[in-house]
């Protein structure tokens, strides 16, 4: 039984693998992957998660829509959300944080940065 479950919502398989690589350096972790917002919501409904990591630009349902839906739902309101995106503008960042994201990382990512931010959101020293 894992201590921490993380949902990674990202359309790029390369990025999903890279994020998983970075996160698996934490012990007792399980990573569940989804390739868009709709699949992400389905996975979210089928289990308990401690952290959601999502891209913004994705097909079917983008990351911002996913965040707003997650934050509206009482069941998921408290799950921390980290965004990993190519959108580096201040406005994009502010919009995402206003919708309820807790951390905002721009691509290209550093694995160490992703890991540190995830640990911080999970309260792991």
């Amino acid at each position: 039984m894992p201590d921490v479950r993380i949902l990674v919502v990202e359309d790029s398989p390369t990025m999903r693998q890279l994020i998983s690589f970075a996160l698996k350096r934490m012990k007792g972790i399980e990573i569940v992957e989804a390739s868009d917002g709709v699949e992400g919501l389905k996975k979210l409904n089928s289990g308990t998660y401690n952290l959601i990591i999502t891209d913004i630009n994705m097909p079917v349902m983008d990351g911002l829509k996913l965040i707003s839906l997650v934050r509206r739902d009482v069941k998921y309101r408290t799950i921390p959300i980290m965004i990993i995106t190519t959108e580096g503008g201040a406005e994009d960042r502010e919009r995402a944080l206003a919708l309820g994201a807790d951390a905002y990382i721009t691509k290209p990512i550093q694995a160490g940065n992703v890991l540190d931010t995830a640990k911080s959101l999970l309260g792991i020293p």
């Binding site: 398989p13 890279l18 970075a22 691509k107 290209p108």
Partner: protein, 279 residues
């Protein structure tokens, strides 16, 4: 009538009073002996303390002893300070090394993932999609494209573009302009001022050209025109990614093309065979 002298004839006391007096004197004696013992012990303690602090002897001797003690303590302090500095230095070296190893680990993870993804499929479109993903997500380019050398015409044709419409990009002959030169020479091209983050680019003068090579044979060129705003300059891992792309992307493209061609030919032959068997 006779007078009684109290001195000559002391009053006769009761035996109980005598016994009480005697027991009191026994207790008093015991207390005295215990106090005496305590004082003797204290004397021995003080004598030991005096010996330790050199309180015995002449003042000059005491001063000499104190100075020796101070000297010993100073030497000990110097030794401990030296050790502390050595440990500090070792800590610093270990911390630096840890950061380097951490960075190296991250870089290796990036390279591993790229290599793994590039060779995870034999579908040509998937391969080109993976190359595009790597360039966006790991290198951090906003406008870029892939040119492939047409085997028949020997012209570099734009195969995929990101951030720029494909129709805007003209084909390039080997040796023509920066892109053509990179294809002809097989050497990576980096625009002047790129390392300082001050390079400017246009369609004719891109930021980076990475020839896709299988051994010495160039099969195409990856061209970067513009980086993401947050990507101000390249890191070491980016150059390693370019090297990886030059080789692995080339073989992945080549293999997937061969596979696609073979699949197409197989379908044609199958169709032909079916046609023949039906007749």
């Amino acid at each position: 009538m006779s007078e009684e002298n109290p001195r000559e004839n002391p009053p006769v006391e009761q035996p109980e009073e005598i016994l009480e007096l005697m027991s009191k004197s026994v207790l008093f004696t015991k207390e005295l002996m215990a106090e005496n013992e305590r004082l003797r012990f204290r004397m021995v303690e003080m004598a030991e303390e005096n010996r330790r602090f050199g309180a015995t002897g002449t003042p000059e001797e005491k001063q000499r002893l104190f100075q020796e003690q101070i000297q010993d303590l100073e030497t000990e302090k110097e030794r401990l300070l030296g050790q502390y500095q050595n440990v500090e230095e070792e800590n610093r070296i270990v911390a630096t090394r840890y950061v380097e190893i951490e960075e190296e680990n991250n870089n290796l993870a990036n390279l591993y993932v790229c290599s793994y993804q590039l060779h995870s499929t034999l579908d040509f479109h998937e391969v080109s999609q993976i190359i595009m993903e790597i360039i966006i997500n790991l290198i951090g380019a906003e406008e870029f494209g892939i040119f492939l050398l047409d085997a028949k015409t020997q012209i570099l044709q734009p195969m995929a573009m990101e951030g720029i419409p494909l129709e805007q990009i003209p084909p390039v002959a080997p040796g023509e302009g920066v892109i053509g030169q990179a294809a002809l020479s097989g050497e990576n091209y980096y625009a002047p001022g790129l390392e300082e983050g001050q390079a400017s680019s246009s369609l004719a003068h891109p930021l980076v050209c990475i020839p896709l090579k299988i051994k010495d044979q160039v099969i195409g060129v990856i061209v970067l025109y513009k980086l993401l705003p947050q990507k101000t300059q390249f890191a070491n891992v980016d150059y390693e990614l370019f090297t990886l792309l030059a080789g692995h992307a080339a073989t992945a493209i080549f293999s997937s093309r061969l596979y696609t061609d073979a699949e197409r030919k197989l379908h044609t032959i199958k169709g032909f065979m079916e046609l023949l068997t039906k007749q």
